[in-house]
């Protein structure tokens, strides 16, 4: 069977480009810059809200989250909850307001976690933990079989996954909730993974802190995240995670846990919290 020679195809593609180019109408660099400023400003507003909530109204949040018995995140469309009070965005100071500013819309829920390891079922991942309770068996190169590594404790489990473009490059990453089982419980982490023949860890979104026989063990700076519950992906690439301050199995009442929603974003080198309370301290 014949095929085109390079010169033939280059000529045809060149003709195609010349013809198509005549119809291209660039919306303009200024529109791209205005849109980018809006997105950046929105993220800064979210970060400001997160900081303000942490400093000013933690007790209110805790009361509100105690009242919330739900164990799952709200479904789309979402409305601002008690952890995301409405604020007026600060006025731009460095540049004048654009004449045709794109509408500022809150990010929508576009992805939800699915139980099970999904396409990571038999993946090999290189994991690392900051939690000292994480067994060495949960660190380093871990090879999964049907989402599990290890036949007894300690063992590593991929509990759920979700696809979301977290770094804005147009390709979806995989978020995975990893469980390092050391007894009935164990450390958890939510990680972002670049998929492919050899999946690689982009970064850790959030990791649980320590716990003891009472379901929690407070670090010096106050109670930390002990449980990572459900999580959803938002249209701006951020991840909203429901976290709790206590394991509630095995005789520990479910109502004793405080639940919060915290939102995380990729900043180019790591995940940072951009919304929600930053502490369980009253």
């Amino acid at each position: 069977m014949t095929e085109f020679h390079d010169t033939d195809l280059r000529g045809i593609f060149s003709d195609f480009a010349d013809t198509a180019s005549r119809y291209v109408r660039p919306p303009g660099a200024d529109l791209a810059q205005r849109q980018a400023r809006v997105r950046i400003r929105n993220r800064r507003v979210l970060a400001t809200v997160a900081a303000a909530v942490a400093l000013l109204v933690p007790s209110g949040i805790i009361v509100a989250t105690q009242m919330n018995g739900s164990n799952s995140l709200p479904q789309p469309p979402t409305t601002p909850g008690p952890t995301a009070p409405t604020v007026t965005p600060p006025s731009p100071t460095a540049t004048p307001s654009p004449t045709a500013s794109p509408t500022t819309e809150p990010p929508e829920v576009v992805a939800q976690a699915v139980q099970g390891p999904g396409e990571l079922a038999n993946a090999k991942l290189t994991l690392s933990w900051t939690n000292p309770h994480a067994s060495p068996a949960c660190s380093g190169a871990v090879t999964f079989a049907n989402g599990v590594s290890g036949v007894s404790t300690p063992s590593v489990h991929i509990l759920s996954t979700m696809k979301l473009d977290v770094d804005g490059d147009g390709a979806e990453e995989i978020l995975a909730k990893i469980f390092c089982q050391t007894s009935e419980a164990g450390p958890l982490q939510l990680v972002a993974i670049r998929p492919g023949p050899n999946p690689t860890i982009l970064g850790v979104v959030v990791e649980s802190a320590d716990f003891d026989g009472n379901g929690r063990l407070d670090p010096p700076d106050g109670p930390g995240i002990v449980v990572i519950n459900d999580y959803v992906g938002l249209s701006d690439g951020t991840i909203r995670v429901e976290v709790a301050d206590r394991f509630t199995c095995c005789g520990i009442p479910v109502d004793s846990a405080l639940r919060q929603e915290r939102t995380y974003a990729w900043d180019g080198s790591s995940f940072v919290q951009v919304d929600g309370p930053t502490t369980f301290l009253e």
Binding site: E3, F13, Y23, G28, G168
Partner: protein, 159 residues
């Protein structure tokens, strides 16, 4: 005029035409290119130091196009917000290449566009697609064969 404006002016047409060849939809290609450049300006301080920032924009644009090709989720909302007027484009009858490209498997189509429209080397395509160079050579061979079958008359015109 800043350097992003210069960069946009120099690259927008090329990226759009490449995505048009990939999707066969010029208005969509234009929207995708604009979205890719918007994402680029958000990280321009970093991208401007790259040897070839256009490669980043092109990769994002193709990622977006592939994603939308499969699911068409964000595009519709973006188009509703951004498209101020109907965008004219060459009809498929006038651009036989676009019609022929649409029949190729997705990866063959992407490889042949990156090679012949974006002037990317086989090694660069292999790196971007995370496959061996020989795989890219195979994709290009199959794409050239299929295109020859469909565009034989154009070859005579071209030569």
């Amino acid at each position: 005029m800043d350097d992003f404006t210069d960069f946009y002016a120099a690259q927008f047409h090329g990226v759009t035409v490449q995505v048009f060849a990939y999707t066969g939809d010029l208005p969509l290609a234009q929207d995708i290119a604009q979205e890719a450049f918007t994402r680029a300006v958000m990280r321009w301080e970093k991208l401007r130091s790259y040897d070839d920032p256009a490669a980043w924009v092109r990769r994002v644009a193709f990622n977006l196009a592939a994603s939308r090709w499969r699911r068409g989720r964000i595009a519709a909302a973006y188009v509703r917000r951004q498209r101020a007027e109907h965008v004219e484009g060459p009809s498929p009858d006038r651009v036989a290449l676009a019609r022929a490209l649409a029949t190729l498997p997705e990866r063959h189509r992407r490889a042949v566009i990156l090679h012949y429209l974006a002037d990317m080397s086989i090694a660069d395509i292999a790196r971007q697609e995370n496959v061996p160079a020989n795989t890219v050579k195979s994709w290009l061979h199959r794409a050239r064969t299929e295109l020859a079958a469909q565009l034989g008359d154009l070859r005579e015109v071209s030569s």
